[in-house]
Symmetry: C2
Subunit: 146 residues, 2 copies
């Protein structure tokens, strides 16, 4: 989508994420090998009562479904960052995560010929518990003239 | 480290990250398959003049080196979130990333018998360009009595 197609308040529902033990372990072994993410026996004695996904993994899985939605597409010029990443509830093997993305701002850049959109992510699990939220931004090309 | 070992202002230097094309592609294909991250020909025509790492990948690589440092260890009780994730400069294949983590706060929880530390991450590349910064938090066990 080009910038002029974005509207504040648009809501996108992403494809649900089915979280597998194998993917939790593969991500965590490479990027977050804390024992609560990679050692089921240790994790079962810990504050969460079992193995949970790395928050960085949850964040990456959610982002993957946003890209798969192909809303940003090739008009995206990158993302400057994220604010208020909140990991609110454990993500466990077998969970299903449902994500909505709400366009929270859409404005022209003051310095460059492009747009900036805000995206608010809300992620809940199969029981309706909020597991993550965050606010991102993306730089979006203007529609070519003519 | 238990909570009482953390001091505001402590600085930790993490093991440098050598960013490979293979790892950029592997992460991006799974979690951020935008063409600027997975299609070198497309990326060479784009705003960055070449393939760049997903910001989520940079974030995850940096976190992996923090865990490898083993400062948090098994006294960590999870992280509530991140603030102000800023992707400031492109990360390209062959880059080397240097990260410092500064303890930005260390306080007792008001509601639970545990500590909360703040961690400020600063990441620069081999040319000294700032590529990423963020602020995280971690819940840390108190030292057992006796």
């Amino acid at each position: 989508m080009y910038f002029d197609e974005f509207r504040v308040g648009q809501v996108f529902h992403l494809e649900p994420i089915t979280v597998t033990l194998e993917e939790i372990l593969a991500f965590a072994r490479q990027y977050d090998p804390q024992r609560i993410h990679v050692d089921a026996d240790f994790a079962s004695q810990g504050p969460f009562g079992g193995l949970i996904a790395s928050g960085y993994h949850t964040l990456s899985m959610v982002w993957s479904r946003w890209i798969a939605k192909d809303v940003l597409g090739d008009a995206s010029m990158g993302g400057p960052g994220l604010d208020r990443v909140q990991w609110l509830y454990p993500v466990r093997p077998g969970d299903t995560l449902y994500t909505t993305v709400t366009i929270s701002q859409a404005r022209l850049s003051k310095s460059q010929p492009r747009g900036i959109i805000g995206m608010h992510f809300e992620v809940v699990n199969q029981e309706g518990a909020r597991v993550m939220s965050t606010d991102g931004a993306a730089l979006i090309q203007l529609r070519p003239e003519g």
